[in-house]
């Protein structure tokens, strides 16, 4: 479930949201993939080219997940 978020001056920046669906065969579907979550998925499955290609396209954001 997505959280309701406020985008007014009075509220902190909204939480980022990625939705994930893991299928019985191990396939993972993701929606609204944030750079942070892409970094997490890349670490979980370094061999996945589809996620790797998205990591390389956001090098500037990748540090969010880096140590």
């Amino acid at each position: 479930m997505k959280k309701q978020r406020e985008l007014s001056n009075d509220s902190p920046a909204p939480a980022l949201t990625t939705e994930v669906l893991i299928l019985p065969d191990g396939q993972i579907l993701v929606h609204n993939l944030t750079p942070t979550f892409a970094g997490l998925l890349a670490r979980l499955n370094p061999g996945c080219e589809q996620i790797a290609s998205r990591i390389t396209h956001h090098a500037a954001f990748h540090h969010e997940f880096s140590d």
């Binding site: 978020r5 001056n9 993972i28 579907l29 993701v30 944030t34 589809q50 954001f61």
Partner: protein
């Protein structure tokens, strides 16, 4: 295997009398100024709204009305940097406005797409500040989407007017807008990222409750291809490769040869998919392979 899913007047005003500021090259006219002027026209047009293909003609300034059930004020249900979209567009700061003119039972954001009252009121300045911060941090584009952003064209244009002139803008749409909406958008967005969901009107009517879908979408795609960069998306749906994807691929190959096409295979049985027996699961490997064969067989310019 990981896949990225995608399932989406002032009183007396008459739209055909609207004086829409003409498209101007950015060298001669600032985009922000043009968007600001167009936003006023678009907001006035809500009094007899014909922004989407339904062309209801309802007065949305008086309150929520029409098939989209949207009023004059937009709400936002998501605004964040994302890397789910086409590789050439990411990272993108994606601003998702609540409300849509279609009723796709498989919509992955069905709640806020069908209900324009979901999400939070859109506060322009803080939102634009976040977009600018994302751009400074490395986002390549700002994407305005929904729901369907055409429903909230005045607000979308106000966002454009407030963004830096050199921002690469993406209009992510269901391609079901009206000629009036297209005229108001002309020259403002760098990329149209447009869905071509159904290959025939029967599936469109059954799954999205929209009549005359194919004609309207084709009209929008042809226009978009002539007025901006166009990327066409098709979400492969289980049980709809032959009836939907094949005719879409055939038409794209014949009428928009070379256009960038993103074939999305990560169907997610979301929202009201359960109402349709064929949409209760994901796309099988066999169907997925068949969809790719059709794409390659028609020589489509496939992108990721």
């Amino acid at each position: 295997m990981i896949e990225v899913a995608s399932n989406e007047q002032s009183v007396g005003f008459r739209p055909h009398e609207a004086r829409i500021p003409p498209r101007c090259g950015r060298k001669s006219t600032l985009r922000s100024a043009l968007a600001r002027e167009r936003a006023k026209v678009a907001r006035a047009a809500l009094a007899q709204c014909r922004l989407c293909g339904h062309q209801c003609g309802v007065d949305r300034l008086a309150g929520p009305a029409g098939l989209c059930h949207a009023g004059a004020e937009a709400r936002v249900f998501s605004a964040q940097t994302e890397v789910s979209d086409e590789l050439e567009l990411i990272p993108t700061f994606a601003i998702a406005l609540s409300g849509c003119d279609l009723r796709c039972d498989f919509c992955i954001t069905g709640g806020p797409s069908w209900n324009p009252r979901e999400g939070a009121p859109l506060r322009l300045n803080p939102l634009v500040e976040r977009a600018v911060a994302a751009l400074q941090k490395g986002a390549r584009t700002v994407m305005i989407l929904g729901g369907e952003p055409t429903v909230h064209l005045p607000t979308a244009l106000e966002i454009v007017a407030a963004l830096p002139e050199d921002t690469k803008l993406v209009w992510k749409t269901n391609a079901h807008g009206s000629a009036q909406a297209r005229e108001l958008l002309d020259g403002l967005f760098d990329v149209w990222l447009a869905d071509y969901k159904f290959g025939n009107d029967a599936c469109a009517r059954r799954l999205a409750k929209v009549p005359d879908y194919v004609r309207v979408v084709r009209e929008n795609l042809l226009w978009a291809n002539g007025h901006s960069e166009l990327i066409v998306r098709h979400l492969v749906m289980p049980g709809h490769v032959g009836c939907c994807w094949r005719p879409v691929a055939e038409w794209l190959a014949a009428e928009l040869p070379g256009v960038k096409v993103n074939l999305r295979s990560g169907f997610w049985p979301a929202w009201h998919s359960f109402k349709h027996s064929e949409l209760r699961g994901t796309v099988s490997r066999i169907e997925g392979d068949r969809a790719w064969q059709i794409a390659r067989g028609h020589g489509l310019n496939l992108i990721e």
